[in-house]
């Protein structure tokens, strides 16, 4: 039996819950502490936990580095794209009310914040995972005996 049985079993139970909690924090940002950055870091920690327990190669198969690179840029483009969309609809940069000018309860603001927080989520998750991959892929120069 592999020596890390407990870790493997427990993480298999927990990692989906961590990811779910990240999504909860993301959407709860409207009503309490939360939002894109926190959710992104929590989501990234789920992926990093998987990498720590099951190995970097397995993690790279689950979340390939190319996805991560694209994810970083995609998030920034979503955020900037929301701003460009507000430009096109005639307002200043990031003036969310132009998304729903007729609404009385600021629906435009709601959609705008939702979109930019989504962008932040993508960027932060990808950035954290990319940092982890970059550091984790460096070959160690000391053998285990020297430690």
């Amino acid at each position: 039996m592999s020596p890390h049985v407990i870790l493997r079993v427990v993480s298999k139970l927990l990692i989906p819950l961590i990811a779910l909690f990240a999504l909860y924090v993301q959407f709860h940002g409207d009503f309490g502490p939360g939002g894109g950055f926190q959710a992104g870091v929590i989501f990234a920690s789920a992926i990093i936990l998987y990498a720590l327990i099951f190995g970097l190669d397995e993690a790279k198969r689950a979340v390939p580095p190319s996805w991560v690179r694209v994810g970083m840029t995609f998030g920034v483009l979503v955020y900037g794209g929301t701003g460009v969309a507000t430009w096109m609809l005639g307002g200043e940069f990031l003036n969310y009310t132009v998304f729903a000018p007729q609404s009385t309860h600021a629906a435009g603001q709601h959609w705008g914040i939702f979109a930019v927080e989504l962008g932040v989520l993508f960027t932060v998750t990808s950035a954290m995972v990319a940092i982890f991959y970059a550091f984790g892929s460096r070959a160690p120069e000391m053998t285990d005996e020297d430690w």
């Binding site: 940002g29 409207d30 009503f31 309490g32 502490p33 939360g34 939002g35 894109g36 950055f37 926190q38 990031l94 309860h105 600021a106 603001q109 709601h110 914040i113 930019v116 927080e117 932040v120 960027t123 932060v124 940092i131 970059a134 550091f135 460096r138 120069e141």
Partner: protein, 160 residues
């Protein structure tokens, strides 16, 4: 003495700040310098957050009943954050003010700190990447040993 206890948060901030700065100045090891820098930046976060504390403040979301009591509260007012990773504080009311006996806490310092934390994380990650590369190129991360290794190169760049 009483002042010290009243302004306890400032004492903590100052102690952490000076500790962090001292570690940056006095360390030879690159990673220790980064640790000192992180402690220094953390003290700043504590400063902001302790300043922004409103005792008895509620989350700055206007509850339904307040809409009737406080017509000037208006619709959600959000402060547009910076371009860098900005964590939304969501729909947010004004700063700490009393609107029909409801005390709201001030979300602005928290937003500022979130941004500053992200900046700190980015700086730390670049610093660590530099440490890794320095280790690969020089074989050491102690600054005096690095200076020794570069000694002759530096000499030829100096007075002739």
């Amino acid at each position: 003495m009483a002042t010290l206890f009243e302004h306890f948060n400032f004492v903590v901030v100052i102690v952490l700040m000076m500790t962090g700065l001292y570690v940056v100045f006095a360390s030879n090891n690159m990673i220790k310098k980064l640790v000192g820098l992180s402690v220094f930046q953390t003290s700043v976060f504590l400063l902001y957050i302790s300043l922004g504390k409103v005792v008895g403040g509620q989350p700055p979301i206007i509850a339904e009943e307040d809409l009737h009591h406080a017509p000037e509260a208006g619709a959600g007012v959000a402060k547009a954050g910076a371009d860098a990773a900005h964590a939304g504080a969501g729909d947010v009311a004004h700063g700490a003010h009393e609107a029909a006996e409801v005390l709201y806490s001030n979300p602005l310092p928290h937003v500022l700190i979130l941004t500053a934390i992200v900046v700190g994380v980015a700086t730390l990650s670049i610093g660590l990447a530099l440490v890794v590369r320095t280790r690969e190129v020089y074989g050491t991360i102690e600054e005096d040993e690095i200076d020794n290794l570069d000694y002759h190169k530096n000499l030829e760049g100096a007075a002739k």
